[in-house]
Symmetry: C2
Subunit: 134 residues, 2 copies
Amino acid sequence: MTNQSTSTGIQEAIAAADEKFMETFNGGDAAGLADLYTENGQLLPTGSDFVTGTVAIQAFWQGAMDMGIKTAKLETVEAEGHGDTAIEIGKYILSGETGNIMDRGKYVVVWKQVGGQWKVHRDIWNSSLSAQGD
Amino acid sequence: MTNQSTSTGIQEAIAAADEKFMETFNGGDAAGLADLYTENGQLLPTGSDFVTGTVAIQAFWQGAMDMGIKTAKLETVEAEGHGDTAIEIGKYILSGETGNIMDRGKYVVVWKQVGGQWKVHRDIWNSSLSAQGD
């Protein structure tokens, strides 16, 4: 396999994993979302310390959904693979019930392949909106 | 080389690179700091879009210094190496002239080895302080 095809392969694999994340989020399924993370997965959210493990991750995303976030849109900017590890840089948009944008920003995800499935291992993001909200 | 010693090697290499970053930051040298990034390095700061390349990175850190941030303290939580790439998860504290904490939070850095030196390639962080400032 050439580097080119490896690179294409990882792009597609991460795009598919992102697609599954979006579907699960948009279905309001916080437990399903937590299951897309590794067992010792971690969120690094703004305004919070590290959020570690399935139970805490489920609770975090349930909280986000309860705040009225209905859809998450993820867009890969770049993805590179290193064996069972992949690094993704991306952009996100979080929207409410009427399609109103509640937040948009950027993220870095470290993915790990577990049992043939790409799972989110480390997940950090921040808002690109200014404090003034524009 | 066993996995264990490889792991120790990358921890030490990233710790040394962090040390250089802190020294350069604490010396108020924004140009020197920008030089610790890859040529097409990127910051992903809160409240901003992607900040790409040496000139923009220097301007960003100069702005942070001009806001009164005098010292940056970095602490690696974990580091893993994949050939010429390393992924670091860490915690930071930014302090002012009197040692007052201006921000503390967490970060993910993607490092690339360029010409035998570890350089920051992707740099995302966010504050762990709540919006209420505690």
